[in-house]
C-alpha cells in the first residue's frame, strides 16, 4: 500500500515489518523520528520487541552486541556524534560477527554544531567492517532496511543503512509499504549460527593471539565478498516478491557517456534532472549512483565507467589532508586499469548546504572543459572568507 511517509518513518516501518526483537537507541537529531515511532510500536504492541532506553549511543550498541550474541534480531539508529561515540563498538560488532542493523542519518560532525546533511560521519567509519548502504529516497530506505536484515544474517556482518539528514530523513514522499506476509516470506525469522547457550557453553570474543587473529580478520573479508555476491541474489528475490530492485550501483545513460557523474545519497535525484536536461541539449553525460559502499563494488565500477573519457565524483564529505572519500575510492578502484578515465573530485554541500542543479551543472562543465584534473578535489561554491588562518 502506498503511504505518504517521512524518510525516518520509512525506516521505522521497515523495522516493524522485519520484526526486530531488541531495539536500543539514544536520541540525536535528526534520527529521533525513527526511534520515537519504534518506541511507540513497542509500547502499543504493534511490534513485539524490547526497547532499551539506554544512557548513550555507546551503550545502545553495547546492548545490541549482548542481544545479538543471544541470538535475536536487533536494530539501532543514530547520527554523527552518536556514531562517532560508537566507534569502538562498530569494530566489536563486526569482529564478533553480529548481524546488527543500524539506520544512520548522515549529519555533519561538530564543531561547530551542525545538524544538516553531510556523509563524513559514516564514511569515517568505513574501516570498521560494516556493510554500508547510501539511499536516495524513502522507498529505497524502506526496501534497503528490510534487505539489511536478510543480508546481515546471511553473512554475519552488521549493516548500516545511511540516509541524508533532512533531505531524506524529514522529507515526505509516497512510499509503498509492503504487507507483512510478503516481508515474512522474504525475511524469515532469524536463525543464529551461534549464540550464548546454556546447553552448549562457549566463550565468545576471547583472547585471540597472533596465531589465529589474522585468520579471523580474513574471514571477515571473505564475508564481505560473500555479501557482494549475496546482495545480487537477494535483490533478485526481493524483486520477485516485492517488485523492486535498486542495485548496488545504478548506471543512468552511462553507455555512451563521455563524462560520468558519480554520486551517492540524495544528490543523485538532483543529478538525474541535470543529466536529463544536459542530454536534451546533446551533452553526452551519464550518472552513476553508488549505493553499496562496503563492500565497494569495484568490478561494477570498472565496467560501467569504461566508455567514459572523464569521471566527476561529487562528495558531500571530506577526508582532511586527502580528498572527498568517494573520489578516493573510485580512484583506488580504477588505478590498476591502464587507460582508465581521469577522476575529477568535487566537494560540495558540506554541512547541509544545498547542492542545486546549478552546482551540478557547473561541475559538469568544469569537468568537460578541463584537460586534466588540477587538484585532488575542487571545492564547489565556496564563499569568499578570510583564509589567513595561522598567518601573521
Amino acid at each position: 500500500m502506498r503511504h505518504v511517509l517521512e524518510g525516518s518513518h520509512a525506516v521505522s516501518e521497515a523495522v516493524r515489518l522485519a520484526r526486530a526483537q531488541v531495539i536500543s537507541a539514544y536520541p540525536i537529531t535528526p534520527q529521533t523520528h525513527i526511534v520515537e515511532q519504534l518506541s511507540e510500536y513497542c509500547a502499543n504492541g504493534t511490534l513485539n520487541a524490547r526497547f532499551l532506553r539506554v544512557e548513550s549511543e555507546h551503550s545502545a550498541l553495547a546492548a545490541l552486541i549482548g542481544a545479538a550474541s543471544s541470538g535475536v534480531r536487533t536494530f539501532t539508529a543514530t547520527s554523527s556524534q552518536g556514531l562517532a561515540l560508537m566507534h569502538e563498538l562498530l569494530h566489536w560488532a563486526s569482529g564478533a560477527r553480529l548481524p546488527i542493523v543500524m539506520a544512520q542519518v548522515n549529519r555533519a560532525m561538530a564543531p561547530g554544531w551542525n545538524i544538516w546533511a553531510d556523509q563524513t560521519d559514516s564514511l569515517a567509519q568505513r574501516d570498521t567492517g560494516w556493510v554500508q548502504f547510501y539511499c536516495e529516497n524513502g522507498q529505497e530506505v524502506l526496501d534497503t532496511t528490510i534487505q539489511a536484515f536478510r543480508l546481515a544474517e546471511w553473512v554475519n556482518l552488521p549493516v548500516m543503512v545511511n540516509l541524508d539528514a533532512f533531505f531524506l530523513s524529514h522529507t515526505y514522499e509516497p512510499v509503498d509499504v509492503p504487507d507483512q506476509k510478503s516481508v515474512d516470506s522474504f525475511l524469515p525469522p532469524y536463525k543464529p549460527r551461534f549464540q550464548l547457550d546454556l546447553a552448549n557453553p562457549c566463550a565468545f570474543n576471547q583472547l585471540a593471539p597472533p596465531n589465529i587473529y589474522m585468520e579471523m580478520r580474513h574471514n571477515i573479508q571473505m564475508a564481505m565478498d560473500e555479501a557482494f555476491t549475496f546482495f545480487e541474489q537477494m535483490e533478485e528475490e526481493f524483486g520477485t516478491i516485492l517488485g523492486r530492485r535498486h542495485g548496488a550501483v545504478e548506471a543512468i545513460r552511462c553507455d555512451d557517456a563521455e563524462v560520468i557523474l558519480i554520486t551517492s545519497g540524495t544528490v543523485t535525484s538532483t543529478s538525474r534532472q541535470v543529466v536529463a536536461k544536459l542530454r536534451e541539449k546533446g551533452e553526452k553525460v551519464g550518472l552513476l549512483k553508488i549505493k553499496l559502499f562496503r563492500p565497494f563494488p569495484l568490478n561494477l565500477l570498472r565496467e560501467l565507467t569504461k566508455p567514459a573519457s572523464k569521471i566527476a565524483v561529487i562528495d558531500r564529505n571530506f577526508s582532511f589532508g586527502a580528498s572527498g572519500i568517494f573520489a578516493q575510492e573510485v580512484k583506488a578502484a580504477l588505478c590498476n586499469f591502464p587507460g582508465h578515465p581521469p577522476v575529477y573530485g568535487y566537494v560540495a554541500g558540506l554541512g547541509g548546504r544545498d547542492i542545486t542543479t546549478e552546482v551540478i551543472e557547473d561541475i559538469y562543465w568544469l569537468t568537460k572543459n578541463s584537460t586534466a584534473p588540477e587538484n585532488e578535489s575542487s571545492w564547489v561554491g565556496l564563499r569568499e572568507v578570510d583564509h589567513a588562518v595561522g598567518q601573521s
Binding site: 551503550s59 535475536v72 570474543n205
Partner: protein, 296 residues
C-alpha cells in the same frame, strides 16, 4: 546456610591467573553459589586473560567477553534478548574489575541500575588496573603506590565508595564480600540470585602481583582488610536497609599496611591519618546502619 552445590565446580583448573590471584578464588566461590544456569559478561580486565585464550575457556558457562566500559549495557542486551525469547530464568551476570566498574564502566553501570535491569553485577576489586600493569583507579586506596602514583606521588586521594554510589540509585541489593569469607560471599551470591532487578556484589580480591606481597598472603590480607574495617562486610536492601555482617574486634590498620609493598613508603604519621580516615568511614557506616534500624 542452604547451599546445595558446594562441591560443584563451574571453573576448570588450568586458568592463567597469577599464583595467589584473589580474583580467581572469587570467581570460583561465586559460581558455586550461582550454578551453571548463568551467562557471564566479562568486560576487559585481568579475567579477560585468566579465562584463557581461544579456543579454550576455564569457565563451564557461556561467556561473552566485552569491551571495557560496557558491562552494564551488554548485560542489559543479553537480558532483553533472553526475556523476549521467553527465558526469564537464566541468571545474567557481569563480572568486571574495579576499573571497569568505578571508572570507565561507571556510566553504563549507572544506566543499567537506574533502569533496574534484571541482572547481577559483580565487581572483583583489586584496587588498580592490574591487567595493564598496576595503574591507579578510583578504587585505589589512599596511600597506595601504583605505576601511575609512583614515589612521592603516592595516591593522596580516597577510594571511591562504589556501594554508596549504587545505594544512591536505590538498587534493590548491594553487598560487599571478601575472598577470606567464602560462606558469606556465597550466601550473598545466592541471595542475589534469588532476587529480581539490579543487584551488585563488590568482592575484595587481593592481588599479590600488584600489591607487592607473597602469593600465600592473599587470603590473610583480605581477612585483615575486613578485620580492620578497611573493607567492611555489609549489605543494603532497596538502598535503605543496612546490615553489617561482620563486627570487627578493633584491629589497627598498621599491620595490614606493613605487609604490602604498595604501602611501604608510608610514615607513622601517614598511617595515623589513614587510621583516622578508616575510623571515620566505619562510624559513618555504623550511623547509616543504625539510622536504618531506627526507621525500620
Amino acid at each position: 546456610m542452604q547451599l546445595d552445590n558446594l562441591n560443584r565446580e563451574h571453573m576448570c583448573s588450568g586458568h592463567v591467573g597469577c599464583p595467589g590471584c584473589g580474583a580467581a578464588l572469587a570467581m570460583r566461590f561465586l559460581l558455586k553459589a550461582l550454578g551453571n544456569k548463568t551467562i557471564m559478561i566479562i568486560p576487559a580486565c585481568c579475567w579477560s586473560i585468566i579465562a584463557g585464550p581461544y579456543p579454550q575457556s576455564t569457565l563451564k558457562i557461556p561467556v561473552l567477553h566485552s569491551a571495557f566500559e560496557t558491562g552494564g549495557a551488554v548485560a542489559s542486551g543479553v537480558r532483553a534478548a533472553h526475556d523476549i525469547k521467553g527465558d526469564t530464568e537464566t541468571t545474567v551476570v557481569t563480572w568486571a574489575g574495579d576499573g571497569g566498574t568505578f571508572d570507565i564502566g561507571f556510566q553504563a553501570l549507572s544506566g543499567a541500575v537506574e533502569r533496574n535491569e534484571n541482572f547481577i553485577y559483580v565487581c572483583y576489586d583489586n584496587e588498580a588496573y592490574m591487567n595493564t600493569g598496576v595503574q591507579r583507579s578510583s578504587s585505589t586506596p589512599y596511600g597506595a603506590w601504583t605505576t601511575t602514583t609512583p614515589g612521592q606521588h603516592w595516591k593522596r586521594l580516597r577510594k571511591k565508595n562504589i556501594v554508596e554510589a549504587l545505594v544512591a540509585h536505590r538498587i534493590p541489593y548491594a553487598a560487599t564480600a571478601s575472598i577470606a569469607f567464602p560462606e558469606d560471599l556465597m550466601r550473598k551470591a545466592k541471595k542475589a540470585k534469588d532476587m529480581a532487578g539490579s543487584r551488585f556484589i563488590h568482592i575484595f580480591s587481593s592481588c599479590p602481583t600488584g600489591w607487592g606481597m607473597p602469593s600465600e598472603m592473599s587470603v590473610k590480607i583480605a581477612r585483615m582488610a575486613v578485620q580492620t574495617t578497611i573493607f567492611p562486610l555489609y549489605e543494603v536492601e532497596d538502598g535503605l536497609r543496612y546490615t553489617i555482617n561482620y563486627t570487627p574486634k578493633g584491629y589497627l590498620v598498621n599491620e595490614y599496611f606493613r605487609l604490602q609493598g604498595r604501602f611501604k613508603h608510608l610514615t607513622e604519621e601517614d598511617l595515623e591519618s589513614i587510621q583516622e580516615m578508616v575510623d571515620e568511614d566505619w562510624n559513618l557506616l555504623l550511623r547509616k546502619a543504625g539510622v536504618a534500624l531506627e526507621t525500620s
